[in-house]
Every structure is written in C-alpha cells, then in structure tokens.
C-alpha cells in the first residue's frame, strides 16, 4: 500500500475541523471561569497566580497528553498514576545512589516507557481490553512500589535537579516551557503526521484501519509506550518539584488526568479529540481548584464543586457535538 492511497482514505485533518470547534468551546469555558474568578478575587489575574495555574496544570497535562493518544484509539490507561509513583521512586533512588540526575531522569523515563510497553503488549498481543489490562497493571505497580518503599519516603535531591520542577527561566517556570514544548509536539504529532492520523483512524474504526493497511498493533504499542514515557516525565517533574517521592502519590494523579482528557473533548469511544483540548481540560481543573483556594471556599465544598464542573463539561461537550452533527 502506498502513501498516496492513505492520503485518499484519510486526508490530513484540517485544524478548522470539528475538533477545532470543540476546542473553541472549551477555550470559551476556560475564559468564562477566568472572568468569573477575576471578578471575585483581586489576586486571580496577578502574573504570579497565572504562572501558578500554568505550572500546576503542567503536571496533569504531561500525564494526560500521553493518555489522550491512548483514548484516541478508544483505549484507556488506568495505570498512569501508579506508573508515575513507581518511576518517581526508582528514579529518586538512582539519583540518591549515583548522585547523577541525568541517570535518574533516564531511568525514570525508561521505567515509565517499559510499563507503557507492557500495557501495549497486553492490549495487542494478549488482546486484553485496555481497561482491564491497565487496571491489572495499576495493582502490579502499586504492589511493587509499596514493597520497594516499605512505608519510607525518599527526599532531598541536588539543587540543579530541583531546577527542572521549581526553577525559572526568563521569569517563566521551567515546567511551563516543557508544557509548551510537549503541547507543540503532541499537537503536531496527532494532527500533522501519518502516524497521528493513523491513530485517529484506529480509534474511529479499527476494522477499516486494519483493512486500509495500518499496522494497528504497532501503532497501539507506540501509543501505550508514549503514555508510559509521559508518566515517566511527570515522575521526574514531580520529584524535582516536591523534592521527594513516596509510594502513594499515584492515586491522586490518575483521575485528574483522565478528567482532563475527557473535559478536553476527547471521546472515550475513540477517534475524536485533540491534545490541545486536553491542555484546556487540565487548565480548567486547575483553575477551579485555584479559584476555590483564592476564595477560601470551605474544604467541604471543594470535591463537590470539582465533581459538578467535570460533569457539566462533559455534558456540554456531548450537547455541542450533537448539535454540530
């Protein structure tokens, strides 16, 4: 099969497609939340707070960006948070033992990638539904991490390494640069490369994708591995930002990442969505929590408000999507 036939089957997705309309709605929602918060709180629009929100959203985004590709293929990766925890604990140990941040970073990324690859193998070679395979993996990773850490915490990392998560460059936090870079790479990969287009095609209709000559299994392996590597990256940011790692960090990371993907308009049924949408999704989640902190909303109400925002966002998404069709 030549590339020419692929082009005819799948013309490159124009950014002004239906996805673009969905992203526009989301951007509008994020701006609306910003406007409300700007009225209610004097400190919301300060430069410091805006940088805060971007930096806080970046960690969720790193995890969610890789996850977006998985969801685009109509899969799900429930093990991302647990992967972050294991990768962080192992990378942290390597830095402690060798004193080399570079070695630690490589180990963290490799650990994340290997876990992702194993997920991919379970989904493709063993044909286990991704939901089950990655749920199983979540337990395996938790077990390994709890056993490995034995209730201890790792803390204290070299100052240079700490810069990755906590440092600034020309007045902008370094995670924000990484956010922009990966947002760019992710968007380019999904919208502008053949592999990206094939991933959309697999999600939209796996049978048609296979018949049109797309190596479905290999693309799925790629997608789960990338999701794992992004979890590995998140683990490095986590380590350097918090200066510590413990076994139970994963639990609080998985669901916000999944929520960011869904709020961002990527359909659980596959084939629809954008990495940029996921960025907005992560931003909306962060804005809501940031706003409630600034306004001193009672601790009782915070989970409730977050839950309502998630439900509202997904409902609005379905509504606008139906209208667009």
């Amino acid at each position: 099969m030549t590339d020419i036939t692929k082009e005819t089957i799948m013309p490159p997705r124009s950014f002004l497609s239906q996805d673009a309309i969905q992203v526009f709605y989301r951007l509008l929602a994020a701006l609306l939340i910003c406007a409300v918060l700007a009225v209610l709180s004097d400190s919301f629009l300060s430069l410091g707070n805006i940088l805060n929100v971007l930096r806080q959203a970046s960690l969720t985004f790193f995890i969610a960006s890789g996850l977006t590709l998985v969801v685009l293929t109509a899969g799900l990766d429930l093990s991302v948070g647990a992967n972050v925890a294991l990768s962080a604990c192992i990378a942290g140990t390597v830095i402690h033992k060798t004193g080399s941040p570079a070695l630690g970073i490589l180990t963290g990324l490799a650990c994340g990638g290997i876990v992702g690859l194993l997920n991919g193998v379970m989904v493709t070679a063993l044909r286990i539904p991704s939901f089950i395979a990655t749920y199983g993996m979540l337990w395996v990773l938790n077990g390994l991490t709890y056993w490995y850490m034995a209730g201890e915490t790792l803390h204290g990392f070299p100052a240079g390494f700490r810069q990755i998560g906590s440092g600034y460059l020309f007045g902008l936090p370094i995670p924000v640069y990484l956010l922009l870079v990966f947002l760019g790479i992710g968007t380019f990969f999904a919208q502008r490369t053949i592999w990206g287009q094939e991933i959309y095609a697999i999600g939209a209709n796996p049978v048609a994708a296979r018949l049109s000559g797309i190596p479905v299994a290999r693309r799925l392996l790629l997608v789960y591995t990338v999701s794992g590597i992004m979890a590995g990256l998140a683990s490095i940011i986590f380590l350097s930002r918090l200066n510590s790692a413990e076994a139970d960090i994963g639990e609080s990371l998985t669901l916000p990442a999944i929520a960011a993907v869904l709020i961002g308009g990527t359909s659980l049924f596959g084939g629809v969505g954008t990495v940029f949408g996921t960025f907005i999704g992560a931003l909306i989640l962060t804005l809501v929590l940031n706003g409630m902190n600034l306004l001193s909303v009672s601790a009782n109400w915070q989970p409730l408000v977050t839950g309502i925002i998630v439900i509202l966002a997904v409902w609005l998404d379905m509504k606008t999507r139906r209208r667009a069709q």
């Binding site: 400190s43 410091g48 337990w139 709890y146 034995a150 209730g151 201890e152 990371l253 902190n293």
Partner: protein
C-alpha cells in the same frame, strides 16, 4: 575430652530447654493496620514485631493492598477468623464501618486489642492509642507560642470527614481561639497529599501577602507547604503531624518548626504486649492514651534513631505513659 564435652553439653541442653519453652510460648498475633503507604503504620508494625520477638511470639501482618479499603479489611477479618490466630491487634480502617468486622472477631472468641483509632463498637481487651484532638491542640499551641500568640495562620486539612482530620483540625482551631491575636486566613484541603498541599499553599500565597504560620494535618503536607514557601522565597513557621523521618530531618535543618507525634512505635509495642499478656493470664491495662509529643529542635534526638534500633517500653513504662 569427655569432661570437656560434658561441660559443653550442659549449656547446650539448657539452651535447648529454653528454646523449647520459647516455642511453647509461640502465640501468633494478627496485626491489622490501615495501609502500606503511611509511614506511621510502618512504625506501628515494627513496634508490634519488636514486642512479639521479645515475648517469643510471632506476628502476622494484615494490610489492605488498597489503602484504607473497608471491603478489603472486612475480607481479611473473614480470613483471620478461619485461621484463628491466638489474638488480634486491630486498627480499623474506618472507626464506624468496621464495627461489624469487630463483632465477627468477637463471635469467633478471638481476643482483640484496639490500637490507634478507637473503634465505635465491639468488645476489646484493651485500647492503646492517642487522641488526635490533643495532637492538633498541642502542636498548634506550640506554633502560636513561637509566634508570640499572634499572626496570620493557614490550616491545610487532610481528607475531609476522616476521623484523624476532624479531630486534628478541631484541635488546631481551639488553639487558635485561645490566642486573640491569631487570625485564621484559610482552612483548605490537601487530602494528606504533598502535591496538593504544595499547590494549595502556592494559591494561598497569591491572595495573602503575609502568612506567619502553617498548620498541616500531616508531615507530607507540611513538607509540601515548605516547598511552596521556598519556591516563592517566603518564610513562615510550619508544623506537621506524625513525626516521620522526613519531618525529623526538616526539623534538624530548621525548615520545619515541629511535628506532633503519638508514637506509633509504642502503640504497636503496647498493643501487642497487652494481647500477649492477656493470653498468658497476666494483668492488662484497659486503656492507654499516650500523651502527644511535640517534636522540636530541642527534643528530636530520640526520634532520630532508626526504627529497628528503638526499644519497646516495658509494662511499668506503659502505666506511666498514659494508662487510665
């Protein structure tokens, strides 16, 4: 030659006799804790193992694989009732929800000691714990004393609705009420997670230009708040709770003002001791409520010892430590 052998055999025989007797002791104590993630329960488990070893008994650890899972602890109880250990040392993952589980243990007539979180029901030989309220109260009092009874204070709460959080935060608030000069700026949730606490602190620093003190409901959140303060080049006195190794290091380096501790190690030791004493028909203390220790740069040394090297309190110590 024969004589030397004789001299050698005598102590050997005595040792053999001693070990047989030890084996006759050999009770099995099932120790239930809430999770594998909170370092506090690690100290409880090491304490229980330490005491069991001293008394020639052994422990079986029961820990939910999913932290604080109610259904999982319930099924572990069902397993243990079948296995019939000599006694149980029990921390409920939820003080109310686990009552039916405790009743199952009671029905099976397995002696059980309650430690750490006081169960809302069921029959126990003894309770060994500390109360979270006084832990919150004493740590907050120490913070306010350091600040001269005044200042802008932020509370970072744990998981809303959990017993530990409700009581600790109530203690924090009561200490604040004792000091007219103290002003509570915000009480926000960090869910016992360091990342969430760091983000909450970053956000709060935006709307509050002056924060003098931070009361965090556990050490992980306290350390998260310190990272946020450092990142913004701001200073505040921070306290945590649990006396983790990380907190001790932070106290040593002057980053953390204090951490409240209710001695999980001693709870593990004494809970196991009471269970074994009851099995051997020795008197037990019905209730031991350990007084909280506020660990500061002046008294951290005993907490800076690796867990494996700590020694359990004796029965005589137990009555001094807080018997009721």
């Amino acid at each position: 030659m024969k004589r030397t052998l004789g001299y050698l055999t005598l102590p050997l025989l005595m040792a053999a006799a001693f070990t047989t007797q030890a084996r006759a002791d050999g009770e099995t104590i099932a120790v239930f804790t809430k999770n594998q993630t909170n370092p506090f329960f690690q100290t409880v488990r090491v304490g229980a193992d330490n005491m069991a070893k001293t008394l020639n008994a052994k422990t079986l650890q029961y820990i939910p694989t999913k932290p604080d899972s109610i259904p999982e602890q319930l099924s572990q109880i069902e397993d243990v009732v079948v296995k019939k250990p000599s006694a149980i040392v029990f921390t409920p993952v939820d003080y109310k929800a686990m009552v039916p589980g405790v009743e199952k243990i009671n029905e099976a007539k397995i002696p059980v000691v309650n430690i750490t979180d006081r169960s809302a029901g069921g029959k126990f030989l003894s309770f060994v714990g500390a109360d979270d309220y006084s832990l919150g109260l004493e740590t907050a009092r120490f913070l306010l004393k350091t600040l001269g009874g005044k200042g802008n204070i932020v509370i970072i709460e744990g998981v809303k609705g959990s017993l530990t959080n409700v009581d600790r935060v109530r203690g924090f608030n009561d200490a604040l009420k004792e000091n007219a000069g103290a002003k509570l700026l915000a009480s926000q949730p960090g869910n016992y997670q360091r990342l969430q606490a760091l983000q909450v602190m970053e956000n709060l620093m935006q709307s509050n230009s002056q924060i003098d003190g931070v009361l965090a409901a556990n050490d992980a959140m306290a350390v998260g708040a310190i990272e946020a303060l450092d990142g913004a080049n701001r200073k505040a006195q921070v306290i945590g709770i649990n006396g983790t190794k990380e907190a001790i290091d932070a106290i040593k380096s002057g980053k953390l003002l204090a951490s409240g501790d209710y001695n999980g190690f001693a709870q593990g030791c004494l809970g196991t001791m009471m269970a074994i004493r009851a099995l051997r028909n020795q008197p037990v203390i019905a209730e031991i409520v350990l007084k909280p220790t506020v660990i500061t740069k002046d008294n951290y040394q005993p907490f800076d010892v690796p867990l494996e090297q700590r020694t359990c309190p004796t029965f005589e110590d137990a009555s001094k430590l807080g018997a009721k």
